[in-house]
């Protein structure tokens, strides 16, 4: 089979191998699984934000025909091993751990907290059973705001913590804060708020747990970002040996950080299956998803900024309060990442960072696409506010402050080298593409007609994976493993711990392996989602491009060397003279010598080779991220604000991104666009709203508004691929960047549109009603930089 010089798959928008099944309705999502004898779970949830549970009576539910069992929180505790949340344990959460039970036992901590589970022959019947469960509550004062949670008099959610401080106050300083602020021309004070919003994948959480009493084995079909993390949670909580638990996952309808490990409800479902010896399915409905799956952000920042009259940002001194909701998990880890990332690509001289995390009677805090994103929002918002006050152009202030690309690279104040960061390039390019001077002319004309257009620019960097630190022994994101094998059918099989839920790993990893090994793309199989066969891994943190792309590349290279080594025995040619192209092993320059890799694999499996020949065509590869590198980019939005209705229309959106070498441009751009759409939603529509009593106000899609095709514009994307740092692996992650940088981009544009009214914006959520309020109240409480020495702290924001 002669072949012209093989084209490379890497870098091409190869059509996805996931699509044939998904386009024909043959995908297998967790709710599609139906096992013989399968039962269905539904949860009884607290209607109150904060209350003592006096009694839970499940007798009437148990008596309902079709109901097989009903368990209370106390029942579940007796059926499982008590202990902290597995995820917090894995992530090494510090300090005393709040009490963690699968269902609420002595008290409920948010409206939606599960108090009982009913297991029935159908979901309909299980829900009927829930109606019959009687719970007596003794209502407690709700802790519905971070401010109240900080009050030592607020009733503690967790008795063992004694107060509502989930993460105690801590402060770090980098550089000389006192001198920097003393020497600055101006000092600004702002309070910036980021509101609570949430992941909302189109498929909610869910699982089918199936316990085989004869074998003592629990098989869990999960929708999770990591089958192994889910397995750890199950083994810990159910007190089972690792070899008795198997977690499987198929297609997953999105997650965006929500589905890491196994949730309380999923663990309760597993416990129920074991108790009943039958498969049990739980798939949350949308109300459960919005109310109880978890929420993110809700952070406030008091920011002091030391600035020169020319617009040099010299120092930041920030105090952050994070509302981690009930059952703090991820929320406790966010401040440290925000601290590390706050300087961004800018050359600050000093940074002070103080943070405190509180528990409140709201849904638990979960990871949501770029969990630390507020660092970018705060920085990019503050820069615009300062630029306005100093009469500087937003682009100019950024270019002025962005660290130049030098050798050796500038180092972030918090420690990481800014190796290969192309902030200046992307800012200049996005400004050119958006043609800001032409926009300003159009803006002026529009204003003359009573129309308010605005333009906003923001820039970000993301440690995806981040640079290798000069002294660090290991890579920036730990390591990633993969097993690779050449099968007798000629397929190169990759076993990865990645658990794709839209990221297209089955396509992108195959592209890399096909190129590196030398088989057609169609001849690579990517195996995911089975703890019995895949190595440990997690899809999240934008890690897979570098980490899994890299382990695929190096693993395929090693597998190829092994196959060639074996083939050299078979063909009696030096391995040096052999190559693999288009699925055939052959002697260089002798096309007639070509032997299909499937034939090589069959020979290897024949068992006819002695101990001196390594016929096991399989390798285990580990990759530590190589030299790593940053992802980043600059975005620009043009918006129109209707000042009568408060409606904001995003007219144009341009992104200039640098994620290094693209594996599959269509996939990369899909990730960017999806992230930007969520960022637009976060600003204009989405809010996880609670009233003053902790009642959840956005439990359906009529109240939690998601962006539709009419809210999201076309998103223009250009790529920079500026600086390779590693000899082989320069793919970088793009999963989170869109969601990180779109909110400040949009808010900056809105403020620009409303500048004739003197509007200044210190918050992220700007639905129409809020826009109208901002216009109506503009001019009051505007902050301004106070000239030294008489620097007064004029509070910004509301």
């Amino acid at each position: 089979m002669a072949q012209i010089a093989a084209q490379r798959y890497t870098g091409a928008s190869i059509r996805r191998s996931e699509d044939p099944r998904l386009l024909t309705g043959r995908g297998r999502y967790v709710d599609d699984i139906k096992l013989p004898g399968m039962l269905h779970a539904a949860f009884v949830r607290s209607p109150l934000a904060h209350a003592r549970v006096l009694s839970v009576d499940v007798c009437a539910a148990r008596a309902l025909p079709g109901v097989v069992a009903a368990f209370t929180g106390a029942d579940l505790e007796a059926m499982t091993v008590p202990g902290p949340d597995a995820l917090s344990t894995l992530m090494g959460a510090a300090g005393p751990t709040p009490e963690f039970t699968l269902l609420a036992t002595d008290k409920v901590r948010f409206a939606g907290d599960p108090v009982a589970v009913v297991i029935a022959e159908s979901r309909y019947l299980a829900e009927d059973g829930c109606e019959l469960v009687e719970v007596d509550y003794d209502e407690l004062p709700p802790v519905a705001s971070a401010d109240f949670a900080l009050d030592p008099g607020s009733p503690p959610l967790f008795a063992n913590l004694g107060d509502n401080i989930a993460r105690s106050r801590s402060r770090n300083e980098f550089g000389d804060i006192a001198a920097t602020f003393a020497g600055a021309d101006r000092v600004y004070d702002f309070r910036i708020d980021v509101h609570r919003h949430q992941n909302v994948p189109m498929e909610g959480r869910g699982c089918v747990a199936s316990y085989d009493p004869d074998l003592g084995v629990l098989t869990m079909h999960a929708a999770t970002q990591s089958v192994h993390v889910a397995k750890i949670a199950v083994t810990m909580r159910l007190g089972m040996e690792p070899d008795k638990v198997r977690v499987l996952a198929g297609d997953i309808g999105g997650s965006f950080g929500l589905k890491i490990g196994a949730s309380r409800e999923e663990l309760a479902t597993a416990a129920a299956s074991r108790a009943l010896g039958r498969p049990v399915k739980w798939v949350e409905d949308r109300t459960e998803n919005l109310t109880a799956s978890g929420q993110a952000r809700e952070e406030s920042f008091n920011v002091r900024a030391a600035v020169s009259n020319d617009g040099d940002l010299l120092g930041l001194d920030v105090t952050m309060v994070i509302d981690t909701g009930s059952y703090p998990g991820m929320g406790g880890m966010v401040p440290a990442i925000i601290e590390a990332m706050l300087p961004g690509p800018y050359k600050l001289a000093a940074l002070g960072f103080e943070s405190v995390g509180v528990t409140t009677n709201k849904a638990p805090y979960v990871a949501y696409r770029g969990p630390w994103a507020s660092e970018t929002f705060v920085r990019e918002r503050v820069l615009d506010l300062i630029a306005k006050d100093l009469g500087l152009d937003p682009l100019e202030i950024r270019l002025r402050n962005a660290a130049p690309r030098t050798d050796p690279p500038a180092v972030m104040l918090t420690g990481r080298p800014l190796a290969g960061v192309t902030t200046r390039e992307s800012l200049e390019r996005v400004a050119k593409l958006a043609d800001i001077p032409a926009f300003r002319r159009r803006q002026a004309q529009a204003r003359a007609q009573g129309r308010y257009l605005g333009i906003g620019v923001a820039t970000f960097i993301e440690a995806a994976p981040g640079p290798r630190s000069p002294e660090g022994a290991s890579g920036p994101m730990g390591s990633e493993s993969m097993r690779l094998r050449l099968d007798e059918d000629g397929f190169v099989v990759l076993f990865t711990g990645q658990m794709p839920h839209g990221q297209s790993h089955q396509t992108t990893l195959a592209q890399i392996a096909a190129d590196e090994f030398g088989v057609p793309f169609e001849q690579v199989r990517v195996v995911v989602g089975d703890t019995d066969v895949v190595p440990f891994g997690l899809t999240g943190g934008s890690r897979s491009a570098t980490m899994t792309g890299g382990v695929t590349l190096h693993g395929a290279r090693r597998l190829k060397a092994k196959v060639l080594d074996f083939a050299s025995h078979l063909m009696e040619v030096s391995a040096m003279d052999l190559q693999i192209t288009d699925g055939n092993v052959g002697v260089r320059g002798d096309p007639a010598s070509a032997v299909a890799v499937s034939e090589i694999a069959r020979q290897a499996a024949s068992g006819e080779f002695g101990a001196d020949v390594d016929a096991r065509l399989e390798v285990e590869a580990v990759f530590d991220g190589g030299e790593g590198g940053w992802s980043g980019g600059s975005h620009c939005a043009v918006v129109e604000v209707d000042v009568e209705t408060g409606i904001v229309t995003v007219e144009r959106y341009v992104a200039v991104e640098d994620c290094g070498v693209l594996i599959n441009p269509a996939v990369v751009e899909g990730q960017i666009r999806g992230g930007v759409a969520q960022g637009i939603g976060a600003v204009l529509l989405e809010r996880s709203a609670y009233d003053a009593d902790g009642n959840f106000q956005s439990a359906t899609f009529m109240d939690y508004l998601l962006p539709t095709a009419c809210d999201v514009p076309r998103i223009e994307i250009e790529h920079l691929q500026t600086v390779p740092l590693d000899a082989d692996v320069n793919f970088r992650g793009v999963g989170e960047g869109g969601m990180i940088v779109a909110p400040p981009t949009i808010v900056n544009a809105i403020e620009d549109a409303l500048s004739p009214f003197g509007v200044r914006i210190y918050e992220q959520h700007l639905p129409p009603a809020r826009i109208l309020e901002l216009i109506a109240t503009a001019g009051s409480a505007q902050p301004s930089g106070s000239a030294q020495p008489g620097r007064s702290a004029q509070p910004g924001g509301r």
Binding site: S13, R15, R16, E18, D19, P20, L22, L23, T24, G25, R26, G27, R28, Y29, D31, D32, K34, Y124, V200, P201, M202, E203, D251, I252, G253, G254, F256, D285, R286, T287, H501, G502, Q503, S504, A666, V667, E669, G670, R673, G674, G675, V676, A677, Q678, T700, F701, M702, L706, T708, A709, C710, V712, R714, I715
Partner: protein
């Protein structure tokens, strides 16, 4: 209650509870799991199928209301082994990521193109505006539908 309906050309007769929703009849009783359930309030469109010749949100239709009617789901969209141009368009334009919203999107798109073979991108956006995709930012869905329109026009 007895229902008899034709789904993707095959007739099915089932005895169902009066409260059973069409989406659950399709998924749980008939094993056609390509249509998805994404909300409780008829807002997401993951469940869109055709009832006779019109797209409907099958979470809003009782199974018994489909008695005597024809239903088309994603499983019936391809013509044998050859994918419908809308399906091809989604593959060609990377119109899906997780794929959860995709069946509903494609059924609406198929209906749009039957009624308006040359839609503008705005008309495509309007047609799918009652449906939510959380992954793609919609742009590639719009491209996919326009690709199918062009393909069918012989382009």
């Amino acid at each position: 209650m007895k229902v008899t309906l034709t789904v993707n050309g095959t007739e099915y007769a089932r005895d169902v509870e009066p409260r059973l929703l069409l989406i659950h009849l399709l998924r749980d009783e008939l094993g056609l799991t390509g249509s998805h359930w994404g909300c409780d309030t008829s807002n997401c469109g993951a469940c869109v199928v055709w009832l006779d010749d019109t797209p409907v949100k099958s979470c809003t239709v009782l199974a018994v209301m489909a008695d005597g009617h024809r239903v088309l789901t994603v499983e019936g969209l391809a013509n044998g082994a050859s994918l419908d141009p809308v399906q091809q368009g989604f593959a060609h334009c990377h119109g899906l990521q997780c794929g959860f919203c995709t069946p509903g999107m494609m059924l609406t798109a198929r209906w749009l193109l039957n009624n308006n073979p040359h839609p503008s991108s705005y008309q495509v956006r309007e047609a799918i505006s009652g449906q939510v995709c959380r992954c793609t930012g919609y742009e590639n869905i719009v491209k996919a539908v326009l690709w199918a329109a062009e393909y069918e026009a012989g382009g």
